[in-house]
């Protein structure tokens, strides 16, 4: 389980790194214009950025945001996808075909152009007060909502297909015959049987959401500076590409590691859940 190990190391590093830095008197926010673009050394393992901030600490703080967005986004995607999939499978008929046709269309849409348009919506015009509208928390919430809006179809399809096949299983038919309500059947008898595929889909979603966050932040429409995220650190690095090419390396490597680990972990979980699905 190398991918799980990579994710665990990343999570521990971003959780413990910043508090440890503070304990040793380091501050990721501290600007030191006399030490701009310092080379990696004992004081700054990855050097400093264009404002003289310690790059390793920035990287770990950015990782907190990026991983948080990935987890929260994947959670919402999974919740919405599971709910829609269950609803479609239990309701059948018009509700089912509407949900699945919508899923088909959403899957086909050009995701990023639509995300870019939606991310540009002015939160103040939605009735939020200006202070909240400019906060980092809102940036996170906005990305989570946006990716959930477009991310649910894969999970919904999977849950629907799984539910339909479980509804013909003996123990589920017995529960229904004994008069269990659809809600009870769904929660007590169907969902536990779908735990493995849902876990696989959720793991894959984490990687997708991290990738989406990084792109949006890179384009300046996601997490906005001074709050660091791996994506917006790279957009900064692009401007400094000729002076400090070093800065472009680490945030991207971190994204690649996190996303690849999620994808490989998802594949490994899928194989464990159903060894037949992955070929001879």
């Amino acid at each position: 389980m190398a991918p799980a190990l990579v994710l665990a190391v990343l999570a521990i590093a971003v959780l413990l790194g910043p508090p440890l830095g503070t304990a040793f008197g380091l501050d990721g926010e501290r600007i030191d214009l006399l030490r701009r673009f310092a080379a990696p050394g004992a004081a700054h393992p990855l050097g400093t950025d264009e404002l003289g901030r310690d790059f390793l600490l920035r990287l770990l703080e950015g990782g907190r945001i990026s991983l948080l967005v990935g987890l929260a986004g994947a959670l919402l995607v999974t919740l919405i996808g599971t709910a829609i999939g269950l609803l479609a499978a239990f309701a059948r008929g018009a509700v089912d075909s509407l949900a699945m046709r919508t899923a088909d269309i959403v899957l086909a849409l050009p995701l990023l152009p639509l995300l870019v348009v939606l991310a540009a919506v002015d939160p103040m015009r939605l009735g939020l007060d200006p202070e909240l509208a400019g906060s980092a928390g809102l940036d996170v919430a906005r990305i989570v909502v946006l990716v959930a809006l477009f991310g649910w179809p894969a999970t919904a399809r999977l849950v629907r297909a799984g539910t339909l096949s479980l509804l013909t299983a003996d123990h589920v038919r017995a529960a229904r015959a004994l008069g269990a309500s659809p809600t009870r059947v769904a929660l007590r008898h169907v969902l536990p049987g779908l735990a493995a595929p849902i876990a696989v889909a959720a793991t894959l979603s984490i990687g997708q959401v991290i990738l989406a966050e990084s792109v949006l932040s890179f384009l300046g429409l996601g997490i906005r500076p001074p709050t660091p995220s791996w994506g917006n650190m790279l957009s900064n690095a692009q401007e400094m590409l000729w002076q400090a090419p070093r800065l472009a390396l680490w945030p991207g490597l971190a994204i690649l590691l996190a996303v690849a680990a999620c994808n490989l972990l998802g594949d490994a979980l899928a194989e464990r859940a159903d060894p037949r699905a992955s070929g001879p």
């Binding site: 152009p113 015009r125 384009l219 429409l221 590409l241 996303v259």
Partner: protein
């Protein structure tokens, strides 16, 4: 078949209309509407002037009425004016569409040319070292952030080696060599981006096709590996491949947005981004709508072709 064609056609048309309405409705939620900008630019304007201007441009009408008027305009080919570029939107779109088509088309073709042989090699020898290598390549391609890959390529080929330009477009009147030099890095990035899913689809599709009894028969009759794949397995896998590949059309446009922005390539993706960042929402909405319609039409075409080629999925 005709009923299926009609149903899918209507569905596509309805989706495009729905997306058009949602995009149009979003304009009201964007920061800085045109009248506000006029007010800021000219301090002599009073709020009465603003109300008059809103009435003049029909901005005081209900949303649905404005949408229908806008739609009727689009149908007549009146795409409006771009504030950002100071030109009619219709004039801007043409060259941008062509630039994106060149970028996306070339990289898609390259990705397909790489994915077919690599996927076939992997499918012929499942679990072999070669298969694992192809799997690793696919895993890298689906996990790497495209803009980071683009930055790395710029670092290597433009900053370090100085072989290729870091971005932009050739000067007007430049020869094909200049075009190729400017296209090289964006195309390379987009090819890697497209390669990931394609490799997996080709491998999975061929793997399934190679299990069919007819393959065993062909092999027993002495067909060679090349003939087996090209003559027997690929034709079987192709219709289903076509359908999943068409789903990548949206992904290609998403990729184009990032790649064109990093490399300053003058295509649709960068146009959408610049229009949004420049508060030019009429241009942004029309560009996104054109992109969405193109994507959904590509899917429709693939679905119909799939149904035509593969009798198993043809609905009654």
């Amino acid at each position: 078949m005709r009923a299926y064609l009609l149903r899918r056609g209507l569905e596509t048309a309805a989706s495009v209309l729905l997306v058009a309405f949602l995009l149009f409705a979003l304009i009201d939620l964007m920061p800085g509407d045109p009248i506000d900008l006029m007010l800021q630019a000219d301090p002599r304007l009073t709020s009465a002037d603003a109300a008059r201007l809103r009435a003049l441009h029909g901005l005081d009408r209900p949303l649905l009425e404005r949408f229908l008027a806008w739609l009727a305009g689009l149908a007549r080919g009146e795409l409006g004016f771009s504030r950002l570029y100071g030109r009619p939107v219709a004039e801007i779109l043409g060259p941008r569409l062509a630039a994106t088509a060149v970028l996306v088309g070339t990289s898609f073709l390259l990705a397909l040319l790489l994915a077919l042989p690599l996927g076939a090699i992997a499918a012929l020898r499942p679990r072999s070292p070669l298969d694992r290598l192809v799997d690793l390549l696919a895993a890298f391609a689906v996990s790497v952030p495209s803009f980071w890959l683009a930055l790395l390529l710029i670092l290597l080929f433009a900053v370090e080696l100085r072989w290729l330009p870091a971005g932009g477009e050739p000067e007007p009147g430049a020869g094909p060599a200049a075009w190729l030099r400017h296209l090289a890095l964006p195309v390379l990035t987009a090819t890697v981006l497209g390669l990931g899913p394609l490799l997996r689809f080709v491998r999975a599709g061929l793997l399934e096709a190679l299990r069919e009894p007819c393959i065993r028969t062909a092999r027993a009759k002495g067909a060679g590996t090349v003939r087996l794949v090209l003559g027997h397995a690929l034709p079987q896998a192709l219709p289903a491949l076509l359908a999943v590949v068409a789903l990548q059309a949206g992904g290609l446009l998403s990729g184009a947005l990032v790649i064109e922005t990093v490399f300053a390539w003058p295509g649709m993706g960068r146009l959408i981004y610049e229009a949004i960042m420049g508060n030019d929402y009429n241009l942004a909405v029309i560009a996104v709508l054109v992109g969405t319609a193109a994507t959904l039409l590509a899917n429709l075409a693939a679905d119909l072709l799939h149904a035509r080629l593969d009798p198993r999925v043809r609905p009654g």
